[in-house]
């Protein structure tokens, strides 16, 4: 247990470091926040001065920096320039659709990647392998926003199989495929090379020599060992998923954090953008921690190595 505790404590300096970077990056943005907030609406000197005081902008840089870190830790990151609502509340209200999309994209992407990777890896050098490898490369070369539009046109407009807008499960199918494409190609390539490596090991030869049926050799021996490198990649995949969700939401005009981020940048709604970045870094670091724990669960060797007394 101490291992996990150590890992969690190690997150603190990294969070402080990234949040400091976020703070100073936003400090470097040219233009006074109050002017951005007023967005050209004329205001008296007094109103501007009051607003600066209310936002704490009249305080020295270091004081604002310390206060920012403290507020980031408790989730109080100010209010949106546009809606004047607390940004944390705005984000919490929109997080559901994004999580739904990311989860669905993860399932679809892993399924596509696993299928292509296993098919290619089991028969390396055959035409099946060539086709699957090419499909994986094509998948990671597709501009996702274009794929999304083509899918909308074919399945939404021409065939009318799925609704194009809405938040129901059926409206999630196409966005999930598009988001899944962000990880499927890379995942397939990694699974493929991992399976090829694993099937060259002695224990696979032993399993075959014992006369185990091929399905058991693959499922029980090859796959389980071959999955270790791809699982470590899950952390990176998840960050691709977050990036994928940003783009997918915009293509399908779905509400969510990605749409919010792009609108925030276009509207120069800095507190909102800043809060989105602060929470994304925190989420990303926590997810990576969970992936590390999962890694230990799949491969007992790693867990025991870490648990061993020093």
């Amino acid at each position: 247990m101490t291992y996990f505790l150590r890992r969690i404590l190690a997150l603190v300096p990294i969070l402080v470091l990234t949040w400091s970077a976020v703070f100073f990056v936003f400090e470097a943005i040219p233009g006074d926040p109050v002017n951005l907030m007023l967005a050209g609406v004329p205001a008296s000197e007094e109103v501007i001065a009051n607003e600066r005081a209310r936002l704490g902008l009249d305080k020295p840089l270091m004081e604002r920096y310390i206060s920012f870190l403290g507020r980031a830790a408790v989730g109080d990151l100010g209010e949106s320039f546009r809606t004047r609502a607390p940004v944390t509340e705005m984000i919490l209200a929109q997080i559901g659709p994004t999580l739904q999309l990311a989860a669905a994209g993860l399932v679809v992407g892993l399924a596509m990647g696993l299928l292509l990777g296993v098919l290619a890896g089991l028969r390396p050098g055959t035409s099946l392998d060539t086709v699957c490898t090419f499909a994986a490369l094509a998948g990671s070369s597709l501009p996702s926003f274009w794929t999304g539009m083509v899918l909308i046109y074919v399945f939404g407009s021409i065939l009318g199989w799925v609704p194009i807008v809405g938040l129901g499960i059926d409206a999630l199918i196409l966005p999930a495929i598009v988001t899944g494409l962000f990880i499927a190609g890379d995942f397939a390539r990694l699974v493929r090379s991992s399976i090829i490596d694993a099937s060259r090991q002695d224990y696979i030869r032993t399993a075959r020599a014992k006369g185990l049926p091929p399905i058991k050799v693959v499922g029980k021996h090859a796959l389980r060992n071959a999955l270790i490198p791809p699982v470590t990649m899950l952390g990176i995949s998840l960050s691709n998923l977050i990036g994928g969700a940003v783009v997918t939401e915009n293509v399908f005009a779905r509400p969510g954090l990605g749409t919010m981020l792009v609108e925030g940048v276009l509207n120069k709604d800095m507190p909102l953008v800043q809060a989105l970045v602060v929470y994304t870094t925190a989420a990303y670091l926590i997810i990576n921690l969970l992936v590390d724990i999962l890694y230990g669960l799949i491969d007992p060797r790693i867990r025991h190595a870490r648990m061993a007394p020093r």
Partner: protein, 294 residues
Amino acid sequence: MSDLLISAPPEAERVKGPGVLRQLMTKPTSAVAIVILTVLVCFALFAPWIAPFDPSQASAGPRLGAPEAAHIFGTDLHGRDVFSRVVWGARYSLPVGAATLLLGLFAGGALGLALGYIGGRFDAVGARVVDVLLGFPAIVMAILAVSVLGVGLVQVVIAVAIADIPKFARVIRGATIVAKQNLFVESASAMGASTARIIVLHVLPTILPTVILLGTLNLGGAILSTATLSFLGLGVQPPTPEWGTMLSDGREYIRYAPWMMIAPGLALFLAIISVNLIGDRVSEIIDPRSQGRL
């Protein structure tokens, strides 16, 4: 993913210009990729002669006109010829992607070289920071950079390059650490050569294959990222005929004028997949370990 393929620097003597090109042409997929890329590069170079219409000329045809003989890819909302805009788009999308890649490679390479060469505590802290940044969604980092730099063509190049720095820095750092252990680096240092001289004359040539490989494997990604930002309205602005921007225009008319998004998207996809196919093949040729994997 790409950095996994090249964790160890390939041997320098395997890189030979004409040989690489000849080997590229021996495989059908990379040969086709080279042909497609050549066509797109010709579009970029000779756009004024290839495009039948001025890309920004409104009412070159009917508004939202379907593909026909005079306008093979149809016309857009303002009656501009989509084919002409796709041809001119090569002039924006390809150089923007390439410039982004070069800038990112230069900045990331310099950082990686410094970390790997100097080593010690500087490297320990720097490498940790790079690792943290590496996992952060690149597109979100690029959007963040745009929110600081502002919207526009030059800004998008810088934004995506910044987002790519960690990826390049990590690989180059690894290659530098390996290169530094060579006996000739040690002897140069023992002979009193300056740090700059050692880096330029001894380390750089050794890691050059890695740099070339990183470049070829990431050009497609750079073209895609810059087009994505333009699509989101954060990069190249309309009415510039850039492929991402054109796709953004076409989004509103998927139902009524799908040709507005089919052609630019196809051009973008073909550009990215050809660059990726060539990159894969180059990595097979340069890196002997991955040879024969297909």
